[in-house]
Symmetry: C2
Subunit: 489 residues, 2 copies
């Protein structure tokens, strides 16, 4: 048993290193790599992926796991969590034949090109054959994992282990039923004015760095760069890299983007570093990850107390600039019906996700075929958001996810918003001074709460368990609606 654990740990260590190396290669690809390096980089990532896969599906891993599972009572809690997680990864990787993985990679590659062209010309027909193939392969992949309450559960497990359709669907339905009339009511009144400032990018970047340092991002264990699309790569807890995109004419959009990534980064920097080579010193899923970025971006970063703290910093950066906390707050919380998810405000955002979730479920259950998608998209958009997209570019071609076969990922965003709302309310109970502290720029108590209840738990349990242990029996749908109602006065 000791030997099996030692062998397993050595293997997990290699898998962790390969994962980290992949992180460095991806980060470099999107920030530093000269254009000419693209072809070689594709080969590098493919090789690291193939080597990881080989090391994971190796039959010896199964033997070590079986031996440890047979001695479950002698295992520590960390060992139990580790064996559980690696067993899940090992089985998931073994169940899908290499040929199907390769077909999916190829379909994703040609699918991306077709999607890109279709989006450019607002012509879904150009993407339809690729998407039909991709949906077929995703269905096949789900089928490899055997029977389940819903085939979509197998897709959820890839991104949000522990989440199921049976639990998500009623929550998403309730949330949609409340959000649609709420957005209707809010948008009946005139929208708050935009900020409409034109500032210097260097100043926006400097302010962003000040803000993330104040929130608790450790600069010795990370960095912040510019990239086309903001993202975060946590190579390890001591090397976490954020990127943002600073726009001269969008101070608030740039700052909230930076704070969003910082939220991801604070999670990564807070993961336990005292359990190496166990596989569980990681995030517990994409939904929980998103809860951290959304919490900092929305709950904290769009709050009145936050802008009260921020305003003097803005004025120090641009002396004489005519801004006050209330104007920043109102502009940051402007609500507007929109077609495009990534431009959506905090209130309408989840309706975009619910739309995709419904369509993905129907595609996976076989109730919907790709040919019927355009009509289904527009009808659901009308029903949920009250608007029909003027063309496919602003409709079902807007997101890249499906072109790469990433079905099951979209729910993470709304799971994140629900978790964030639950954390916020529980935190207010635990830290009665928190808003006063935020107003003073003292974010340490808030970060401390998240460190304790979320970050330090790594992947010792699945996200739904971590959430429940942190907030008790709160109803996150009610919490999220209460939060949105308060924000919109």
């Amino acid at each position: 048993m000791q030997e099996s654990w030692a062998s397993l740990q050595e293997r997990i260590g290699e898998l962790e290193s390969l994962q980290e190396i992949s992180g460095v290669l991806s980060w470099d690809q999107q920030t530093m790599m000269p254009a000419g390096g693209a072809a070689a980089r594709g080969r590098h990532l493919a090789l690291v992926g193939a080597m990881s896969h080989d090391k994971l599906v190796d039959a010896a891993v199964g033997d070590w796991l079986s031996d440890l599972e047979a001695h479950r009572k002698q295992l520590s809690p960390v060992q139990v969590a580790s064996v559980r997680k690696i067993r899940r990864m090992h089985e998931r990787a073994r169940r899908v034949p290499t040929s199907l993985v390769r077909e999916m990679a190829e379909a994703g590659s040609t699918g991306f090109a077709a999607w890109h062209e279709a989006k450019k010309t607002a012509n879904f027909a150009l993407f339809q054959p690729s998407l039909t193939r991709i949906v077929d392969l995703v269905r096949q992949t789900a089928a490899c994992h055997g029977p389940a309450a819903h085939p979509y559960d197998h897709l959820l497990e890839e991104y949000d282990p522990g989440s199921t359709v049976a639990e998500l669907q009623p929550m998403f339905d309730r949330l949609g039923a409340e959000l649609t009339p709420f957005v209707q009511a809010v948008t009946a009144a005139p929208a708050a004015p935009r900020l409409g400032l034109d500032l210097d990018v260097a100043g926006i970047q400097a302010l962003g760095k000040r803000v993330i340092a104040a929130l608790g991002f450790r600069s010795e264990d990370g960095r912040l760069d510019e990239s086309e699309h903001p993202f975060t790569v946590g190579i390890c807890a001591h090397d976490v890299r954020l990127t943002t995109h600073s726009y001269a004419d969008d101070l608030l959009g740039s700052l909230t983007g930076t704070i969003h990534e910082c939220g991801h980064g604070l999670y990564e920097q807070g993961l336990p570093d005292d359990m190496p080579r166990t596989g569980v010193a990681t995030a517990a899923g994409m939904g929980l990850h998103e809860s951290q970025s959304r919490f900092w971006e929305n709950v904290i970063g769009r709050s009145r107390p936050f802008f009260t703290w921020l305003t003097p910093l803005v004025q120090a950066q641009w002396p004489g600039l005519d801004v006050d906390a209330e104007r920043l707050f109102r502009a940051a919380n402007r609500v507007e019906r929109s077609f495009v998810r990534i431009k959506a405000d905090e209130a309408t955002y989840n309706l975009h996700i619910i739309l995709r979730f419904k369509l993905e479920l129907a595609l996976m259950s076989g109730d919907l075929e790709v040919a019927e998608l355009p009509q289904a998209w527009d009808a659901l958009s009308e029903e949920l958001l009250g608007v029909r997209p003027p063309d496919a570019t602003q409709g079902l071609l807007q997101d890249v996810h499906w072109s790469g076969g990433y079905f099951g990922y979209f729910p993470s965003y709304t799971i994140g918003n629900l978790y964030a709302a639950g954390f916020a309310r529980a935190m207010e109970d635990d830290l009665p001074q928190m808003w006063q502290q935020v107003e003073e720029g003292n974010f340490a108590p808030v970060l401390g709460w998240l460190r304790d209840k979320v970050h330090s738990r790594g992947h010792l349990a699945d996200a739904p368990t971590i959430f429940r242990q942190a907030v008790g029996d709160r109803d996150p749908v009610a919490d999220l609606m209460a939060h949105l109602r308060e924000r919109q006065g």
Copy 2:
């Protein structure tokens, strides 16, 4: 035979990718990585190194090679070169037991720390036990490779395959015999005045970028950053990364450093990209690599025509600055006896290398023991350079190489200078207009000559062969001395 070649190519492709990944990881480590990432990065590099080693020593590689060697007559020239190179790498890697490799790595790691402390306190005694152990391990490593004309040949093969003591020693002896009186004569006269300017770092960086673009460095296939110590990483011919260190008070040192790295980079960008997965689309050795950096730094970058071209660019960067081409030329070619190799001028530099070469030979043959090193160093310094270092920090502790076990590397620097001198003279014969073209900022003919005679050859032959094919039967010692005599008027 076809099958063996296909299998070998697949394996070489993996080895090339791992080598390239290692390059990205190292570059990132020295330029972008936050301090906290150091421990994880050590694990990443160790894992990639171990995986490369396993893939190289694999017995199957030996079988494929044997099959191909048995069908030598059917192989193309590229295949012949590939089989020859991989056989050499495979055998070298197999001959040294893993335990010895690990001992060497550990001795290098503790040796570096001991050297660092010893250098700081100018106390060789602190480094002596480590160095004794390292020299012992290097001797053991050389012995693993079996009999040779000189055990040092096995060390040379690691860095400069094709070079031997039998060929180098007489060249180095002749060069030393000419250089010592030459440096004495030159330094008898007063040294040229230093430039003594204090400029802005951003301006020096901007000028450096203009210069490397003019020399032919393709920006779409590379980049230039700042780092503590300048270096070049060629990930592939389309992703070549230079670093430099720009000093406000040292325009010439900064620029020549940038041009030196650019020379390495031009070689990497010029390597053949039409023979992937053969292992021979690489540099042919460190000496040939160094010839490219030294050629651009010294032959071109310290020449009168170069400064004639550069002067208007300097004046455009800093309007009103009082410089002229002659002043730049003289300051860039100032000769001074010195204790420290990396600060040495073009003339004395090779005497520093000859000193180290003699000591390394004696250590490897057993004629010298580590305990006798301090005395031997000082005596040789007196004999060759005419000066005795005031302390060990400026004497035998000045270089990091020995602390990591890198014996056999130093000769590359002088091999590079000799090759560069030979190339320059041959090029003058082939391109009678070259100095006129350099003066006009037209570096394309010079680069074209190097592309044709050196870069495009990759590692299809060993460096001494590539050199001979490029320059015929020229005497590089005579060429180097002629070059230095001309420079010093």
